[in-house]
């Protein structure tokens, strides 16, 4: 029996996510006993990933003022959810995610407070998501909780939640989105906290943003709501 290789265009369409679920399943079946085609698909996907990463720097950078002016919003505060100083409420201490060397533990990770899935209505977390404005320190089960930003998505809102456990040097970041059935934690990331600087501030870097950015992109999230818009959303019960 001769091994038939699948045509490259079909394999490329598979790697690019162009095939229907049925057709994709057929390709997966084919790949399982055609290692040379599997290797080609791996190469395609690696190339796509390398290209995406090679040009990704602007996503984590503040927008230059001249471009804000060109877009007609010279005073806009752009990507506030991608560059910020994270604050820890307790004792005026401030911490932030480190840029390098921090271990990024994708759930299931260490002993985290946040778990993906529905948030029970009326629970302390649900209450915080319902009514706590961004940037206001609060506590959840003895750990520092802060909502960092609220973002409009296609059919509702998502909120970025941060929980800091200073005794365990653990920082959790989650994205909770409001659906018909209430709040739902979509993704949880956890990382080790770096040492604080003497003045307690460390500028937020790439790790946590790199972690949540793909999810935000996939949800089509827009700019973080302004405090006024957020207040209005809270008052409206996060209904759009």
């Amino acid at each position: 029996m001769t091994r038939t290789m699948m045509d490259k265009e079909r394999l490329a369409a598979f790697a690019d996510g162009e095939l229907s679920p049925e057709d994709a399943a057929a390709v997966v079946m084919h790949l399982s006993d055609h290692p040379e085609d599997q290797a080609y698909v791996d190469d395609l996907m690696a190339a796509n990933a390398a290209l995406a990463q090679a040009f990704s720097a602007p996503l984590a950078e503040p927008v230059p003022t001249r471009l804000l002016a060109a877009a007609g919003m010279p005073g806009a505060n752009v990507i506030p959810f991608r560059r910020r100083v994270l604050r820890l409420g307790a004792g005026g201490l401030a911490l932030a995610a480190s840029v390098a060397a921090a271990a990024l533990l994708v759930w299931p990770g260490a002993d985290t407070r946040l778990v993906p899935g529905a948030v029970a209505g009326g629970s302390p977390l649900a209450q915080a998501l319902d009514s706590l404005p961004s940037g206001v320190p609060a506590t959840l089960e003895g750990r520092a909780l802060m909502i960092l930003a609220s973002l409009p998505v296609q059919d509702g809102f998502c909120r970025e939640v941060e929980i800091v456990d200073s005794s365990a040097s653990l920082l959790e970041m989650a994205l909770a989105c409001r659906g018909a059935g209430g709040w739902r934690v979509e993704v949880v990331l956890a990382e080790r906290l770096p040492e604080t600087t003497e003045n307690g501030y460390v500028p937020a870097g790439g790790v946590e943003t790199a972690g949540l950015t793909p999810f935000l992109d996939r949800l089509g999230a827009g700019l973080a709501l302004s405090p006024q818009d957020e207040q209005a959303a809270i008052a409206a019960g996060w209904k759009r």
């Binding site: 290789m5 690019d16 190469d43 230059p64 007609g72």
Partner: protein, 168 residues
């Protein structure tokens, strides 16, 4: 309406900078391009149909502005066409750690592609558009998107190294 449009436009800038960089291979030129595209978008706001994808509309503006620039540069006889140039990184890549080396290779390989292939590759592989969306953005048939991708990959995969062989 105008305010929403501007807000959406501002929110898109990071992605537009990425797209423009992948086209020009140069960050300064990329930002010049994004600036020109934003200004053009504001002037032509009424041509944008609300409810359609603003990102595709903007990618198209960036891409046409880039092609115009390149044409002008060629007419003037300035600028180096990467298609004709022998691209060299002057040994820079050799001193980079493995992960950065890969990214440097990806940028060099992208810059070495013909313009038409580069634009398709950027929209599909980097911006994540579907073939149909890429076709609409560039105003070309879907079949052309696929053939340009295929040709781009014939050049890209070996240049990125680490191919497992078998299907080149």
């Amino acid at each position: 309406m105008t305010d929403t449009f501007r807000r959406d436009l501002v929110a898109l800038i990071p992605k537009l900078r990425r797209f423009a960089w992948s086209l020009t291979g140069n960050r300064q030129e990329a930002d010049d391009l994004v600036q020109a595209a934003c200004e053009k978008a504001l002037r032509n706001e009424q041509q944008y149909r609300p409810g359609t994808r603003l990102d595709s509309w903007m990618f198209r503006i960036v891409q046409t502005a880039w092609i115009d620039d390149r044409r002008r540069a060629r007419t003037r006889g300035v600028g180096i066409d990467p298609e004709d140039a022998h691209l060299s990184d002057h040994g820079k890549a050799a001193s980079l750690p493995e992960a950065r080396l890969m990214l440097e290779r990806a940028r060099t390989a992208m810059a070495a592609l013909p313009e038409t292939q580069r634009a398709v590759m950027a929209l599909v592989a980097i911006e994540g558009l579907s073939y149909r969306e890429a076709a609409e953005t560039l105003d070309i048939p879907v079949g052309t998107v696929m053939s340009r991708l295929a040709r781009a990959r014939e050049a890209l995969l070996p240049a990125l190294g680490e191919t497992k062989g078998g299907r080149q």
